[in-house]
């Protein structure tokens, strides 16, 4: 299956990962200037934390995207957890930083965090089912 078909069959998952890569890249490069809400709420260590957040978020996005497009849940799942953490972190820092003005960004980001977490849980549940149905490694014919 080509990348176009993969994109057509997983448009939301792809865009969640792409947004994580772009936002994470911005955070990694320009630090706390990426988000006013984040820099306000993390006053003091905001720049260092924004860099760490950006790198982690971008790495999560890359893992999620690569795993999704190569059908490797061993990469997609950790990517999903990290992306979920990145979105969750942004949602929980932008709202205290900007107050009511940060609600829109916080809600969108928080929803993506919950969505990523639910997707990760679904993959984990499926993996457990498959492991229960088939014999473990080494016992396969």
């Amino acid at each position: 299956m080509g990348w176009r078909k993969r994109l057509a069959s997983n448009p939301f998952g792809t865009m969640v990962a792409v947004a994580a890569i772009v936002l994470g890249g911005l955070g990694a490069v320009i630090g706390d200037d990426t988000s006013q809400g984040m820099s306000k709420s993390l006053a003091g260590h905001s720049n260092a934390i924004a860099h760490i957040w950006g790198v982690t978020f971008a790495v999560g996005g890359v893992l999620k995207l690569y795993g999704l497009f190569t059908r490797r849940v061993t990469l997609e799942l950790p990517g999903l957890y990290i992306v979920s953490g990145g979105y969750g972190f942004y949602a929980l820092t932008v709202v205290p930083g900007l107050g009511v003005h940060g609600l829109a960004a916080g809600i969108v980001s928080g929803s993506l965090a919950v969505g990523s977490l639910l997707k990760a849980k679904a993959i984990m549940r499926r993996a457990r089912q498959v492991a229960a149905e088939s014999p473990p490694d080494g016992e396969r014919p």
Partner: protein, 117 residues
């Protein structure tokens, strides 16, 4: 910054750290299960590809059979055309002969009329 905000930011840091730990747990402790799922997804993809190839093969065989039938049909039609062409040329020959006979008969008739006069 208020105490409430501090708490929320702490929760955010805890949540982000928690998801990284979760990701590491997924990589190191659940790797076996995830690999099995990878293999299953791969085998499902291979099965689907196999089915598609088999369908295409069946379609190819059907198409070949149909092409053979059409070839036979075409050969039959060509034979029919040849027979009709031969029939047409013999009919033309007969027509020419009949015309010549008719002309001869007319000439004879004219000669007989001349003699009577």
């Amino acid at each position: 910054m208020t105490t409430g905000s501090d708490i929320v930011v702490s929760v955010a840091q805890f949540a982000a750290g928690g998801t990284i730990v979760q990701a590491m747990v997924a990589i190191f402790r659940r790797r076996g299960e995830l690999r099995q799922l990878d293999r299953q997804i791969e085998s499902v993809a291979i099965d689907t590809a196999d089915q598609v190839v088999m369908m295409l093969h069946a379609e190819l065989v059907d198409s070949k059979e149909e092409a053979g039938r059409l070839k036979l049909e075409r050969a039959g039609l060509e034979r029919q055309i040849e027979a009709l062409t031969a029939q047409m040329s013999s009919t033309r020959t007969e027509l020419t002969t009949t015309r010549a006979e008719l002309l001869t008969a007319r000439a004879d008739l004219a000669r007989k009329r001349d003699r009577r006069r």
